[in-house]
Amino acid sequence: MIDYLLVPDYIGDLVVTLKESFSKEPSLLEIKNDKVAIVGDTHGAINISGLAFSKLQEGYCVIMLGDLIDRGPESLRNLVFSMEMKFLTERVFMIRGNHESSLTPPYYGFLDELKENGIDYLYDEFLDMFASIPYGILLNDMILCLHGGIASKGLTLDNIRKLPKGDIVPDDKTAFEILWNDPREFIEGFLPSTRAEGAYFFGNDVFEKFLENNKLSYLIRGHEVKMVGIADNFNGKLITVFSSEYHGGKKGILLIDHGKFVKIIQD
């Protein structure tokens, strides 16, 4: 039970407000900032979200890589808190994760939490809000942030910019892959993933080409459990940040300070 929830309508208002806010942001949000704190999948780990937000005082803006809900307890509180921080500071930016959709909340806990708090009538509003969240962030024209990975169909930044908003599942194949794909060494091209129908593994060859064609230096993403918190692939050009508690491993926050990468790892 969210104890500060004195007025259920507050949540409803917050969701609607944030949905409008997200809708105004393009599907590929462009940010220029010298100090950025990037937090990966939190899945309810409000303490880690809080740790990232504490960087705001130091002049950082915060990028959240999606998957705020499901799996961990109190993921609703984590989401509401993050939405509030975005609303209040205007320096918190989010991209959509594969859990910000209709596919997972009924099975991984978020819908149950809504029910426990007596606000499951807001479920559709939440889904609408999720469907308005940008798919990617282009940081300083050099770093791309996506939740899962690059898509087999839609390999330009323009493809991402043009992704439709309001796609609840999402049905768009490129959008789906951006939320669900994983990098894998030892393969070439795209290989059907074991995660889900329509998800793929991508190899270093297509990844390098993607970076080159789009004049990027790094891809920063979440989506995969990393017991060490932050891990990389593909000669360090793909960085995974994972920031949850439920997996029992370490949690990471990646700071980029004037081009310098600093890892914060919590045990």
């Binding site: 074991t194 692939n233 081009g259 790892i265």
Partner: protein
Amino acid sequence: MWICNKCGTENDDSYDYCVVCGVEKNATPSAPPVTQEPPKVQKENVEASTQGPINNSSAQQQAPVTPSPSASSKILKIAIIQSPSPELVGRTLDLDFTIFKTISIGRNPENLLQMPDGSISRRHALIELKDDKYIIRDLQSTNGTYIFESGYFTKIEGERNINIGDVIKLGEGTVIRVIQ
């Protein structure tokens, strides 16, 4: 059954210690071993406070055109592309056919290639060195053995030649590739 947090082996509930690596049930999961150097792009500097991912091979893979791997060396190198155990993803293994002409693959520890994946059968498949060629045979596994060709994972019925570069799926969660 429980999965070992260190090596990923599936153990029967009656065991208090992993039968392969010996660690107790519910041991602290360990981080994968590190081999990664910091990113090389000019501006940055990664704080080496923790470890990177497993086994990042910088060698570019060749297109899978070559015929059967050289049977004279009798070692088949495979890479684990995907496994429910994150510790195994990206690992490479050498299958040595000099002593045993067949290498069994399955969930149980008795298999020479043991894959900790609930969707893999206890005895799932065999890789055999027959007449200087490598073949894979599905042992009527519950969830099947598949080879990736023409954009799809095609089910293997009975036996099938394997070549370098072949991507093979076992059950629902494990994908391996023959790399040498």
